[in-house]
Structures are given as C-alpha cells and as structure tokens.
C-alpha cells in the first residue's frame, strides 16, 4: 500500500460516499481530502461534540524492519518522539499536550508505525503543530532517552515472567524461525541498552515519508479545514521512505512446546495457517471462524470448553493477518490438570469443522450477528478514524462501509464448508503451553 499520495489538486473531495444506516440516524460519509501539498486523508465529519481524532500509519515502518542488533528500535522511537521536539524539551512538550487535553501517542507494530491524536476543536492548531514537531523535529534529549529506556527495560523485566508474554514469544519463535516476525517488537535487554540518538534520527529519516503515510480523521472538522492542517502536519516529510523490504514467510506449524512455570493455570495459545485479507474467500473464513471460536458465547469452542464443562473462563480463535504472513490463532487458560482436556476438545472441534463444516442455521446466525453488529463500530470517533486507516491500508475502497455487509451476506453454505475443508489443518497446529500442565498434551 505504498502508492498513496501522487496527485496534487486543490483541496477538494475526490468523492463522497454515504453509508446509510437508517433514514433516521446520521449517515456515515467517507470523504477523501487531498491537500494543496498533495497529502491525502479520509475523513468522516461528525459535529456532535467539539473534538476530533486523527489516526496515522507509516506502512512498512514497524519492528519487522529493525536491523539485526538494533531490535526494539521502532518501538523505542515510538516512545520518544512525543518526549520533546523543536524548541521544547520533554516536560515542555508534554505540558503543552496535557494542559490542553491533547492526547498524542505512537506505537510500533510488527508491520507499521502508527500514531493517534485526539484534540478538542479549541486546541486543534496546537495539536497539529505538536504532531508536526514529533514527526519532523524530535529531539531525543539524553534525559528522555534514558528515561524511556528505563521504562522499556522495566517492561521487558515484567514480560520475562508473564505467562501470556512467554507463550506468545515462544509461539512466534517456533513458527517464524529466522524471519523478523520471530523477533520481539520491544527488543531485548542487550539491544535496548545499545540504541542511541543516531539510531533514532536515522529511523525517523527513513521511516516517516509521504509515500508510506496513511491518514484517517473523524470528528468536528470540515474537509476545507482539514486540507491546510494536513500540509502543516505532514508537508515537511520527505517524499519517499527508505525501508528494507520484509520477505513473505510461510510459518511452520506442527510443534507442541511447553514452558514450565509454577502457576495454577496453564496458558495455551495455538495457531495454524491462515488466509490473506485480500483472498476472495476471506469473508467465508471470517464467518467460519465466528462460528468456531470468534463468536464469544455463540461459538462452538465456548460451548464445549466453557459452557458444558467449565474448563475455562475464555476460549477463542481469530484470523491474524500480518503483511507477510497469515495465521489462524487461538487461546485458552485452564487449570494444570485439565489443560490437556481443553486442548483435546478444541482439537476435536478443529477436525469437526474441517470434516463437516457448519449448518445453515449456524451460518444464518453468524451473518445476522456480523451484519447487525456492524453499526456498533460507529459509536466513537476513535473507532471511526482507526477504521479509515485500516480501510486504506487494506485497499478496501471508500465504499467499503457500504459494501461490507453485502460481502458478509453473500457468503454461502458451500463457501464456508469449502473454505473449512481447505483451511482447517488440524494435523499442522503449533501449540504453546506455559504452566505446569499434567498429563499428555496433544492437538
């Protein structure tokens, strides 16, 4: 998705599409705004309250591109660019934010570097200026660097013994081997100790550019007002990012790993091959997963593991898509002497889904939930602006909100059962268990 922002037009809407929920409520209109300087953003106007949220992403600038030996670089930069920029040291910069009720934060995922800004209309100009400074003139003062380093190290120490962290760390190492996805987003004690201001500046220069920027905005602002703010925030970024390519990877599934820890309840996660977001069968898989383990109290896994037998508080599965790999994953936590039983039940459901698929009634129920609950996502501005970034990143189109429920409705019983037969792979599931499991573990 590194092809955004090519044309330069006057601030204007390329198009306006409306997502009519009902005649009665306000329709959700997605507008495309292209600034004088050629910065493009998607916008949902909503003037109910005097505030605005902006979500941004720099695609391909996540932790997967951290150089070997500098693991945790993107993550540490995400903690530092709002800790002093331009003429302002950290306390001055943070004071500008907090005293004006502006929230600005950044986050490094595996694939992307993202940011999120929320501001009252009253403080919009300052908020945009702070965003600009964070992206283009971060200071990396020694005080802030050492302080954030100490926070990250503190987080690493905690994660070292946290059962869920151990489980995911072990799992990702197991399935991704030497690929960058196997590496910790926050780095490790050694690499974090060695990262320095030169590394951060180099990252900022390479990672924040117009060609990998995605912007989503929601709230109390018009397209005309947004255009100039886009230029102010992002106009000084370089045209092109300079980031290493991350290779596609086929995760290796089939291992069962146990990490011994003296806790009363074993934490298990598992995963198998997944399906690409762009695959024409994605929604069939999505509906299938809802029925299997994505649908909370309506899911088969919850019914078998929790409702009938009381073996867990939560049990779930989900489709996990990264830019270069896709998985179908799940998790459960059960007392040590029964975790084997939970996994065995889940394994049975995995096979049943592959062999028998779903019933028409299950399909109908899944569709009525997934389509009916879609408007529940439109209840806060933060949800909206975040969704606009996701839609652009995944190339879903401006009319996605209009088309989405139809895509769910179009899934047929044959589609789900065909996808279940080909996708579900009970013979090749990787399971990671952290705890003191008793008895045999198998999937």
């Amino acid at each position: 998705m590194n092809k955004l922002i090519k044309q330069i037009t006057a601030c204007a809407f390329a198009s306006v599409l409306s997502f009519g929920l009902t005649a009665r409520a306000q329709a959700v209109e997605v507008q495309e705004v292209v600034s004088d300087g050629g910065i493009r953003a998607w916008l949902i106007e909503d003037h109910m309250n005097p505030l605005m949220t902006m979500d941004i992403a720099f695609t391909g600038a996540g932790a997967a591109t951290d150089p070997e030996g500098k693991l945790g670089l993107a993550n540490m930069v995400s903690g530092l660019i709002d800790e002093g920029a331009g003429e302002m040291d950290s306390q001055t910069f943070r004071g500008e934010m907090e005293n004006r009720s502006i929230s600005l934060s950044f986050d490094a995922g595996r694939d992307d570097f993202s940011g999120s800004l929320t501001t009252l209309t009253r403080e919009r100009e300052t908020a945009i200026d702070l965003l600009r400074l964070a992206l283009s003139e971060p200071r990396f003062d020694a005080e802030a660097v050492e302080r954030i380093r100490a926070q990250i190290v503190s987080g690493l120490k905690h994660a070292e013994n946290d059962p869920r962290d151990i489980a995911s760390r072990t799992f990702f190492k197991s399935i991704f081997g030497d690929h960058p996805y196997a590496r910790p987003v926050s780095g490790n004690f050694e690499t974090v100790a060695n990262l320095n201001a030169n590394d951060f500046r180099d990252f900022v220069r390479r990672a924040f550019a117009k060609d990998n920027l995605i912007v989503g905005v929601a709230g109390d602002i018009t397209a005309e007002e947004l255009g100039p703010l886009l230029d102010e925030a992002f106009g000084s970024l370089p045209d092109n990012s300079d980031l290493p390519e991350v290779s596609d990877v086929t995760p290796q599934f089939g291992a069962i790993d146990v990490v011994q820890q003296d806790i009363p309840q074993s934490q298990a996660i598992w995963g198998q091959k997944g399906i690409k977001r762009k695959d024409p069968d994605f929604y069939a898989a999505y509906v299938m997963n809802y029925i299997l383990g994505g649908g909370g109290f309506s899911s088969r896994l919850t019914e078998e593991v929790r409702e009938k037998r009381g073996l867990a508080y939560g049990v779930y599965s989900y489709l996990a898509d990264l830019d270069h790999a896709e998985m179908m994953m799940g998790g459960v936590a059960t007392r040590n002497d029964a975790i084997g039983q939970s996994l065995s039940l889940i394994s049975t459901e995995w096979s049943k889904m592959k062999e028998n698929g779903v019933s028409q009634e299950e399909l109908d129920n899944a569709k009525s939930y997934l389509t009916g609950a879609f408007p529940l996502r439109f209840t806060s501005l933060g949800n909206l602006s975040g969704m606009l970034v996701g839609m652009q990143k995944e190339d879903l189109g401006m009319d996605f909100l209009d088309r989405r429920n139809a895509m769910v409705d179009a899934v047929s019983l044959d589609d789900v059962n065909r996808v279940a037969a080909s996708l579900m792979d009970p013979e090749n599931v990787t399971v990671t268990v952290v705890g003191k499991p008793e008895g045999d573990l198998a999937f």
Partner: protein, 474 residues
C-alpha cells in the same frame, strides 16, 4: 499491539477494577456551566428508576440494568456469590433456555455482557435500536424468573474459579493487591475480592445463588439506563410494558459494618519468583462522595490530577524526570462508592533502585504536599483538564450510561453527576490542601512491596513478543 482483544471482549464478567479505568476518564466529566450528560429521568410505579442519555450518532442503543447490590452485600462465608449470580443470570428462565440469552442477543446483531463490583451488579446489551424491545423483554424476564439447577450451576462454578486463576492467582501483582485490600479494610467487606476467596467459592451452591437473587433482585432495587438513538417518549412506554408490570419487591437496605478507627500503618511484602519487575504501592482510606467528609472527595479528585495524573504531574516530574528514581509513578482514586474509598499511589523503581529508597522518595513528595500544599497554577491546570474530560466522555455511547448507572447505584443523584463540573470549578487551594492532609494519614494506610523471589527472578529467554490480535478492518 495488544493482548488479544478477543480474550477481553468475549468474556462475560468484568470486575470493578476494569471499570475503574473507564471511570477515571468518564467520571471526570465537565464543562463549565454545562451539564455533563443531560440525562432524562423517570421512575416507574414499582420503584424502578429510568435514565436516558440521547445520542443519535448511530441507530444503536446501550441498554443497561443496574442492581443496587454487590459483593460488599454478601452474607459472611459466601464471598463471590454476587459475581457468581451475575454469571448464573445467563443460565435461563422458563422462557429462555440455559446459555441462550447471549446467543439470542448475538443473532440479533448485539453484544452483551455483565459486571459486578462491591456496590453494584450490571447487565447490558449494545444493539440496534429496533431490537431494544427484544432485549428489554429478556432482561425483565430474568429479573424475577431465573431458573437454576445444579447441572448448569456446577460447571459455571468451575468457570468462575478459572476466572479467579486468570485474574488473580496467575498474577502476583493482583494477588498482592488482594492482600493489601484485605489489610486496608479491617472490618468492612470492601476488603474482600469481588470474585471471592477461593475456599468459599468452591462451596458456593445453587441455593446460595437463589437466596441472594431473591433477596436483592427486584425492580425497586434496579435502575434502567439507556443511551443512544431513542427519545424518552419512545423509551418510557417500552419500559412500562416490560419492567413496569413486575411487582415491587420488599424494601431493601444494605447492612454494612463501619470501618473502625485504625491505629497503625500496615505493610504487606510479597516475594514471588514470577515477579520480574519490582513495584511499590500504597492505599489510603479515603472519603467517597457518600461518606463523612464527602466534600473532600471532589478536592481529592483535583489532588489526584495534580500529583499523579500524566507525565507532567508533580510526582512524575520529581520522581521520574528529576530524581530519576522511578520509571513510572501515579495515583488513582474513585470516590463513587457507598462507603469508604481508596486513594492509591504506585511507583515502579528505575533500574536497580531499592524499594526502600523509592518509598523514601515518594514519602518525601507526600510530605511536601502535606507541608507546603499545591500551587495556584497546579490547581488551575488540573481543573481545566478535569473539565475538558467531559467532552471526551460524551463522545462514547456507553460512558454516560456507565457513569450515571454507577453513580445512582451507589446512592448518588443525577444532579450530583451533572453538577460535578461546578463543584470541581469551586474547589479552592485550601480545600485541596486540607483534604490532602486528612487523606495522607499513615495510620489509615497499607504499603505494598512486590518483589522477586529472594533467590532472584526466574530468567526467561529475552523479551516478550506481543500476541497478534485479530486486528484490522473486517
């Protein structure tokens, strides 16, 4: 990236701890001279309160029923029964089969969940406005017609025990918090975990649950709160049709013991091999909006904002930025309670800093507050931040419903919620300083030290890799 949203969003019960986070945003509402949520209210003939917050952004509603009963109302020996009953409310009536409640909501495009706290228990559904009558009918049905038998109750008892393991027993930090509360409240039931003591949970029975249900679940002990795309003219007839026909129950009063005078500071130290990062915390007994010295509570809201909220707060600036002794520090305070509240301070040491040195530094900051008070500039900035937060609270569909439900459930009035900004605005420096002197009383405090095993921590293999949650737009 986060720990799987799935885990959090698919589970049924939330404890008060998770609500607290929402509340510090949500119950910090206010814009000068403006009401906060502008709710409309009514009362049904059977005593059930009705509250509506209109919000027409999307054609959806949040429908909540709050019962004025929580874990602090449990009889001795059956700790956890309030929360257990909350789970069992999904186990059916003569009309709805066990486990079907949530499935019916889902089939109609809705989400549902429930939560239990010390003072209240709540049930809610988020759903399209044209399905409101359906969920209302089901919620009204289970207010009086719950059917329970051992074959559904006993597996669910295992579920809440697994829930306890997930939330507490697998987490040394949470276990220490449980020990600290038990020490902070020497007599009051706020000292018990909402989820219950394990030994008592293991003995909870169907009859225990039904008895608690019969004692507390009735329209005159319940509050209906709806937020979303509906008017009072549409809501009230519906509420009368489904809830209004339920006969009023007996009068209910909470019988709470009073916390005695406390005479000595307490300290709880926990060593656990699972602790990788040591941490320090302290709880002080504090007034709530309902107790003696309730006037102090708003001043303490302001105090907490000044000394412990965000990265430019007084404690953060001193301990994290200037002294470089902590990697994080903050305070928390939630005065929405029937009885006493808890003013908390926490800090994580930086690097190899000893907890004793960290404690001394925090105590130094607290002493400065007691001796020198806060400044006018600090007061003004804190007030502005608190007042601004109302706009953010109004943006969410459910925040208003939650704040109002919680406040009414502990016995506050709608006016007390709506006038909160004015009361914040009226707080003076003297009030903050006097309230601080009263709350920072060591004799009414518990200090917690969370430390690695004396043999040193277990060393794992490098840093954590967050789990990929099913993020993205689907």
């Amino acid at each position: 990236m986060r720990i799987p949203e799935n885990f959090r969003s698919k589970i049924r019960s939330r404890l008060a701890v998770t609500l607290l986070a929402a509340m510090t945003i949500a119950l910090a509402p206010g814009v000068l001279n403006a009401a906060v949520f502008n709710p409309q209210t009514a009362t049904l003939e059977n005593g059930m309160q009705v509250v509506l917050v209109e919000n027409h952004r999307a054609p959806v509603v949040t429908h909540m029923v709050w019962y004025k009963v929580g874990s602090a109302d449990e009889p001795e020996g059956v700790s956890g029964i309030a929360h257990f009953l909350e789970h069992l409310m999904f186990k059916g009536t003569d009309k709805i089969a066990p486990g079907d409640f949530s499935k019916i909501v889902a089939r109609n495009g809705g989400n549902d969940n429930a939560f239990t706290s010390w003072d209240y228990t709540g049930y809610f559904q988020n759903i399209a406005r044209d399905r409101l009558d359906l969920v209302m009918e089901m919620e009204a049905d289970r207010m009086t017609n719950l059917q329970l038998s051992d074959d559904v109750v006993l597996p669910e008892r295992d579920v809440i025990i697994e829930e306890r393991r997930s939330r507490l027993d697998n987490s040394p930090g949470a276990l220490l918090g449980e020990q600290m509360r038990a020490s902070l409240f020497m007599a009051h039931p706020y000292g018990r975990s909402i989820i219950g003591w394990l030994n008592e949970m293991e003995q909870l029975s169907t009859e225990d649950a039904l008895e608690f249900y019969r004692d507390w679940y009735a329209p005159n002990n319940a509050i209906l709160v709806v937020a979303g795309d509906i008017t009072m003219d549409e809501l009230l007839p519906m509420a009368e049709k489904y809830y209004g026909v339920i006969p009023r129950g007996k009068d209910m009063t909470r019988k709470r013991v009073k916390e005695p005078v406390q005479h000595a500071p307490r300290k709880v130290t926990m060593h656990d091999p699972r602790v990788g990062q040591a941490s320090w915390s302290r709880y002080y007994l504090a007034p709530s909006y309902n107790t003696e010295r309730a006037a102090d509570a708003v001043a303490l809201d302001v105090l907490s904002e000044i000394i412990g909220s965000g990265t430019t707060s007084r404690f953060f600036k001193s301990l994290v930025v200037d002294q470089e002794i902590a990697s994080s520090v903050g305070t928390f305070y939630n005065p929405v309670a029937v009885d006493l509240a808890n003013f908390g301070v926490y800090a994580v040491p930086r690097g190899d800093v000893d907890l004793a040195d960290l404690e001394q530094a925090v105590d130094g900051e607290i002493a400065k507050v007691i001796n020198d008070g806060v400044t006018q500039d600090e007061l003004d900035r804190a007030k502005q931040k608190l007042l601004d937060s109302a706009v953010f609270a109004r943006d969410s569909l459910s925040a208003g419903a939650r704040v109002l439900g919680q406040s009414l459930a502990v016995g506050l009035s709608v006016d007390q919620v709506e006038s909160w900004p004015e009361r914040v605005e009226a707080v003076t420096i003297d009030q903050v300083n006097e309230a601080a002197k009263r709350v920072f009383d060591d004799k009414k405090s518990v200090t917690g030290w969370l430390m690695p095993s004396k043999d040193g921590p277990i060393t794992g293999g490098g840093a954590a890799l967050p789990i990929t949650s099913g993020e993205g737009v689907h």
